[in-house]
């Protein structure tokens, strides 16, 4: 190995690139400060322009694992099943009495008319007691008889109300349009996705606001209560909730500014890191907008993270400059010294973050992948804004006198807290945290064995259990014979063959098979309609409630089947399976039961047979190529089907992702520090945090889901920063010749102080998410807060304890001498 050149009077102990390139970088940056500043200003202007292109994306597809087999199957039939998705149900409850009063009917009629004129409503498809498509039928000696539930002769009198009551009973709408207790009724409102006049896409948010203003506030009150459910309403509520993130951001920023001033006692040292971090946010948002990315409910959180991580590194730099200034360096030297001492740990930490976030790409779900990209880009921006821009700006501005004095004071001071904490680097005390950590790891691991995949709460999991939407949903579920958790299996056949007797019989078996599965409430399909109509055609005699082998009867029986139960060319008939809930176990049981049935009943013939027309099929059967009309049961659609697919993707990805995050952190740390013991000191506390956060999730009943899986990667990525900074400083102090405890005490006074400051500040910042009306943002807030705090504790307590036993100070000093001679390490 050739003799290393020494460029400065101090130098980084380690290099990420090489001993020559990094000093060159420093010389270039600090030698051409105006040029660098102008370049960065231009970039900022460019990205600020990009901010104007930021747009909010409310497409549902990004939230589901598009490449999962189930979703692929669903997408084939997406258009056929659209009707059920964009649908809102409005229940009007009579608080006192039942629906058979003049006043209730009048109110319902008014609401019905009001809803009719809300933009986006598919007027022809609307159904309520007042719409003409709600009819009653009965079998008489002469055949069928029927009419609208509210007769044309309705006049609000007792007799006509009694007539309505009788008609409702005959209509079979109890449990559907009319609640089981007759205290409320539903207005079923299908939506058109595109405005037929303007061709514009319907804004769910606007529609949701219309419902609130025109329906709920106008008609809801002491006498009548309004309940609204349906995916469009849920999305509207979510988008409203996302808007509140801006307030959280503002609150977090103000809190950070105040804490930062208290910490640095320097106005410049407060404002510059905040501005640098905001510039990172601008860069991140602008760059992604320019690249064509849009913001969704997850990536809206990234600016938070970028800001928080930016502050965390900015504080380290400001801290370093203050210390160097205290030693008597001038502005430029202080900034340069701080840069030299911190850019290696800073770079290392940020690269770990960025690459750690990229491991989220393993999860094949649009929002998570975009989260991975935007968080990585954001963190990469911080390398420039907070490790380059910040020290260069500070080299002009300098730390104010009050800030320098404060830094000197705290460095000289001998606070009891740091004295106490430094005990953890004492060989006698160190076993205590190690043993405690080991015990916690074991217990945490045990607890986390019960960690569940998926959403564990009922109702819409995206929103809180006590949110308006979920309360409304509870009302619907408990008063109507419906479940909000629906698994749809698509039964595929060749064209025009969905009503083949064999196919219908297979569906019949499938339904009964599924109804026998625990967690399944009921099933509905074309077969239900066929049996019902066959019975009705035979004078309502229950004996006829069966499938007919007579194709003519079979065809007649499904002639008027709702479009949601058969596609237009009769090549697909969905089976709708109502589940008790959408807990992971329920979904797994149901999906496993479907797979079991598939294994027995699916015809594994080539795709071409499914694309054949009737004559070709008959020919193929005649030739003996196939035995009968092929049929296959395809998973899955419905909210439960999509969730089952999501759970599978997450279950598969979660371990891969965790392993890769740790591999990335390990490799980067090892390349930099070239020491297994160093890497162990940094990674073991992180691993403990990972285990404990999983135990916390188990304890709090938070499942591993789209929202919480990224937190695991984010937590590791951000947590590693603390360990790297602490270790880096500790190493410098050890090389300076101090014993372990003294070295750690010195580390605590400078870096340790910055680490604990950032840990608490960041925890406060993400802690505000816990107030979010959106459940998954709140869950992320809880977990991130825990991870920030616990990683901080790990770096301040467990890391030194491990270092006490693992590090060999003599060997470290020897290696330093061999490599750097007498040049002291920077930092």
């Amino acid at each position: 190995m050739s003799e290393q050149k020494h460029y400065f009077d101090s130098e980084p102990e380690h290099y990420i690139l090489s001993p020559d390139t990094e000093p060159m970088l420093e010389r270039f940056l600090f030698g051409n400060r105006p040029v660098v500043l102008v370049l960065l200003a231009l970039l900022t202007a460019l990205f600020a322009y990009g901010l104007t292109k930021v747009k909010l994306d409310s497409s549902i597809e990004k939230y589901i694992p598009l490449n999962h087999e189930y979703i692929q199957n669903y997408l084939v039939h997406k258009d056929d099943m659209k009707s059920g998705v964009a649908n809102v149900k409005i229940a009007v409850e009579a608080v006192n009495g039942d629906i058979f009063t003049k006043d209730y009917m009048e109110t319902l009629s008014k609401i019905n008319d009001e809803v009719f004129f809300i933009p986006g409503v598919d007027r022809s498809g609307m159904q309520s007691l007042w719409t003409p498509n709600t009819r009653w039928t009965e079998v008489t000696e002469q055949g069928f008889q029927g009419g609208p539930v509210i007769p044309s002769t309705y006049d609000g009198s007792e007799q006509s109300l009694e007539q309505v009551r009788q008609n409702v009973l005959k209509s079979g709408q109890v449990g559907r349009l009319v609640s089981n207790d007759f205290k409320s009724s539903i207005i079923d409102v299908p939506l058109v996705e595109y405005d037929p006049e303007t061709g514009e896409k319907l804004s769910y948010q606007q529609f949701s606001h219309d419902l609130e203003q025109k329906i709920r506030s106008q008609f809801g009150g002491d006498d009548y209560r309004i309940y609204i459910t349906g995916t469009p309403k849920k999305l509207g509520d979510l988008l409203d909730g996302a808007g509140q993130i801006a307030f959280f951001f503002l609150a977090a920023m103000i809190a950070t500014a105040v804490l930062l001033y208290l910490y640095s006692r320097c106005p410049k040292g407060t404002v510059v890191p905040i501005i640098a971090s905001l510039i990172a946010v601008v860069w991140q948002l602008g760059a992604l907008a320019l690249l064509g990315f849009s913001i969704d409910l997850y990536s809206v959180l990234v600016p938070f993270l970028v800001f928080a991580i930016g502050i965390s590194h900015g504080v380290q730099i400001i801290n370093g400059i203050a210390i160097e200034s205290g030693k008597g360096a001038n502005r430029e030297q202080a900034a340069r010294q701080a840069f030299r001492g911190l850019y290696v740990p800073g770079m290392l930490a940020l690269m770990s973050d960025a690459i750690g976030f990229l491991t989220l790409l393993f999860i094949d779900i649009g929002v998570i992948q975009e989260l991975a990209i935007s968080a990585s880009v954001g963190v990469a921006m911080i390398i420039v804004t907070n490790l380059v821009l910040l020290p260069i700006v500070m080299s002009y501005l300098g730390i104010s006198r009050s800030g320098v004095r404060h830094a000197e004071k705290t460095e000289r001071a001998d606070p009891v807290l740091w004295r106490f904490v430094s005990q953890f680097a004492n060989r006698k005390v160190a076993p205590v945290p190690i043993v405690i950590a080991a015990v916690m790891a074991v217990i945490g691991f045990q607890v986390s064995q019960d960690l569940k995949i998926g959403d564990l709460d009922k109702g819409a999991p995206e929103l809180r259990a006590d949110s308006r939407y979920n309360l409304d949903n509870d009302f619907m579920v408990s008063n109507y014979s419906t479940s909000s958790d629906v698994l749809v299996v698509m039964v595929e056949t060749p064209l025009e063959q969905c009503n083949d007797y064999k196919v219908m019989d297979a569906i019949d078996r499938f339904m009964w098979h599924m109804e026998n599965v625990p967690g399944v409430q009921s099933t509905v399909s074309l077969v239900s309609v066929s049996k019902l109509v066959t019975k009705a055609m035979n004078e309502g005699n229950l004996n006829w409630s069966a499938l007919s082998r007579n194709q003519t009867i079979l065809n007649t029986s499904i002639q008027r089947a709702p479009s949601g139960l058969i596609n237009p060319d009769c090549s697909m008939a969905p089976v709708i399976i109502y589940l008790n809930d959408h807990k992971a176990e329920t979904l797994e049981t149901a999906v496993a039961a479907v797979e079991e049935f598939k294994a027995q009943y699916d015809d594994h013939v080539e795709q071409k047979y499914f694309e054949m027309r009737i004559p070709q099929i008959e020919e193929a059967i005649a030739n003996g190529e196939i035995d009968s009309v092929p049929v296959r049961f395809q998973l899955a659609s419905g909210n439960a089907g999509i969730e089952a697919a999501t759970n599978q993707v997450i279950a598969e990805a979660q371990h891969t992702m965790l392993i890769f995050v740790y591999v990335v952190v390990f490799v980067l740390c090892f390349i930099t520090f070239r020491s297994f013991t160093a890497v162990a000191c940094i990674i073991i506390p992180l691993a403990l945090t990972s285990v404990l956060s999983q135990a916390l999730m188990t304890y709090l009943g938070i499942g591993v889901k789209v929202a919480t899986l990224p937190v695991i990667a984010l937590g590791v990525g951000i947590g590693v920063d603390y360990g790297i900074y602490i270790y880096n400083r500790l190493e410098v102090m050890i090389i300076a010749g101090k014993n372990m405890q003294e070295a750690f005490l010195e580390t605590l006074k400078s870096t340790g102080k910055a680490v604990s400051f950032t840990g608490i500040t960041l925890a406060l910042g993400v802690g505000t998410w816990m107030l979010s009306p959106i459940k998954f943002q709140a869950d992320m807030g809880i977990l991130l807060t825990f991870m920030f705090l616990w990683n901080m504790l790990g770096a301040l307590v467990l890391l030194p304890a491990l270092a006490t036993f693992l590090l060999r100070p003599e060997r470290m000093r020897a290696r330093h001498r061999a490599r750097h001679g007498d040049v002291p390490p920077a930092g």
Binding site: N543, S545, N550, E618
Partner: protein, 427 residues
């Protein structure tokens, strides 16, 4: 690879479980040929080919089997699913319904067990000639038999065989009618000729329909079954289908030609009305009677043109019931009728008579209780308004109802007993 394909193809044919179908007149062939081919092969041949198939070619084929060859799935939910008839055989209650369910209870309907049934078609009616010997009928012309009180069942008859028999009988009838027409023409009696022409026309239509069913594999449901003793019994059903056995169900013969039913109306129920007398009720006021255990039948004048779904007979009293809550009472063994006002417009589908009252059940949760002495009528609606199709009296004097949502229990006076009803795990 090739041999694989060949093997696969042969498997389908040998096993005969899959039907080569084609579209015809909007209907479907239902491989009568492949079935008879399989039948003609010996057992051992079948077993060998089965073994080869299992070894060689399982992947390409699904194992959809005809519902008539698919055993009912073991379930613990049959007591909550559609049930269409319930009877008492000694102390035991036996109920039948959807998916080939037969369930029985030895504790008056509190807990139930599932019988072993070789088909999964919907069963519509059940009858026991004694505590041990019973028959159940249902869709796809199926007739099942048990000789152990309902625990195990074998298939005696099915719709494809019924179709063959109906075609044969229709041919015979047509020949007879042709002869009758020839005879009438020979006699030159215009009225007789016109009558014979109409008769022949009906017989021709009947044969055409029978041939269509046979060709397309359409089947008809049996709607009721009754046995006089362990050998002689009747099964009646849709479109005038009627079969008789004199050997305990080993062979069944088409007797529809004996029953005056020119419109081939559905025959909904067959009921003994004392001694060797039988009454069959059906669609559109169909009411026929035999006094010699089915050898000869005559049409009776029905008091109502709507459909009749059943008849309950107790000594010389009879209650006839049907569409839209119509109930007719006779105190002279069915000669004259008087309509009773039940206060319900719900169609009544099933009934039973106890020592002092008759209970009728039907759509919309309606239960009508009629006192034998006096005119007291009680109409109740069972919560949930589900349809009920059958009712039986328990040995305790209460009633067990079956219908759309399975089993319900009523006290002797008609109160709904909310004691839990359970079902043991199937084997």
């Amino acid at each position: 690879m090739f041999s694989d394909l060949v093997q696969r193809d042969r498997c389908g044919r040998y096993l005969g479980g899959r039907h080569h179908g084609g579209r015809h007149h909007g209907g479907r062939h239902h491989g009568g040929k492949s079935r008879s081919a399989a039948k003609s092969r010996s057992w051992s041949q079948l077993m060998i080919s089965l073994a080869i198939c299992l070894l060689l070619a399982p992947l390409a084929q699904a194992t959809w089997q005809d519902p008539l060859n698919t055993p009912a799935m073991p379930t613990q939910l049959a007591h909550k699913e559609l049930l269409l008839d319930v009877v008492r055989a000694d102390q035991r209650l036996v109920a039948v319904g959807a998916h080939g369910h037969v369930i029985y209870s030895d504790d008056n309907g509190r807990s139930w067990q599932q019988g072993q049934v070789p088909v999964k078609v919907t069963l519509t009616a059940v009858h026991f000639s004694s505590g041990k010997y019973g028959w159940a009928v249902g869709h796809d012309g199926v007739i099942l038999h048990t000789d152990d009180g309902g625990a195990n069942w074998i298939k005696q008859f099915e719709g494809f065989r019924a179709n063959d028999a109906i075609v044969a009988a229709a041919r015979e009838l047509k020949t007879k009618r042709e002869a009758a027409l020839a005879q009438a023409e020979a006699s030159g009696d215009d009225v007789a000729i016109e009558e014979a022409e109409i008769q022949l026309e009906n017989a021709t239509f009947a044969l055409e329909d029978a041939l269509y069913d046979q060709e397309t594999g359409s089947t008809k449901p049996f709607l009721d079954v009754w046995f006089y003793d362990a050998r002689r019994g009747f099964a009646v059903g849709a479109y005038g289908m009627a079969f008789y056995t004199a050997d305990g169900g080993q062979t069944w013969s088409d007797i529809s030609a004996r029953i005056p039913n020119p419109g081939r109306m559905h025959l909904n129920a067959i009921v003994p009305v004392g001694g060797m007398a039988l009454t069959v009720v059906g669609e559109a006021g169909t009411l026929v009677r035999s006094d010699d255990l089915g050898a000869n039948w005559r049409a009776m004048l029905a008091p109502y043109e709507g459909s009749l779904f059943g008849l309950v007979s107790k000594d010389d009293q009879q209650w006839l019931f049907g569409l839209r809550g119509h109930v007719f009472h006779s105190t002279d063994a069915g000669i004259s009728w008087r309509e009773l006002s039940t206060g319900s417009e719900q169609t009544l589908l099933g009934g039973v008579s106890s020592a002092d009252r008759t209970v009728l059940v039907g759509n919309g949760g309606s239960v009508v209780m009629l006192a034998h002495r006096g005119e007291k009528i009680r109409s109740i609606i069972i919560e949930g308004r589900k349809a009920y199709a059958g009712v039986a009296q328990t040995s305790e004097g209460g009633f067990v109802l079956v219908g759309e949502n399975g089993v319900k229990r009523l006290s002797a006076s008609g109160e709904l007993l909310d004691t839990s009803i359970s079902m043991a795990a199937g084997e």
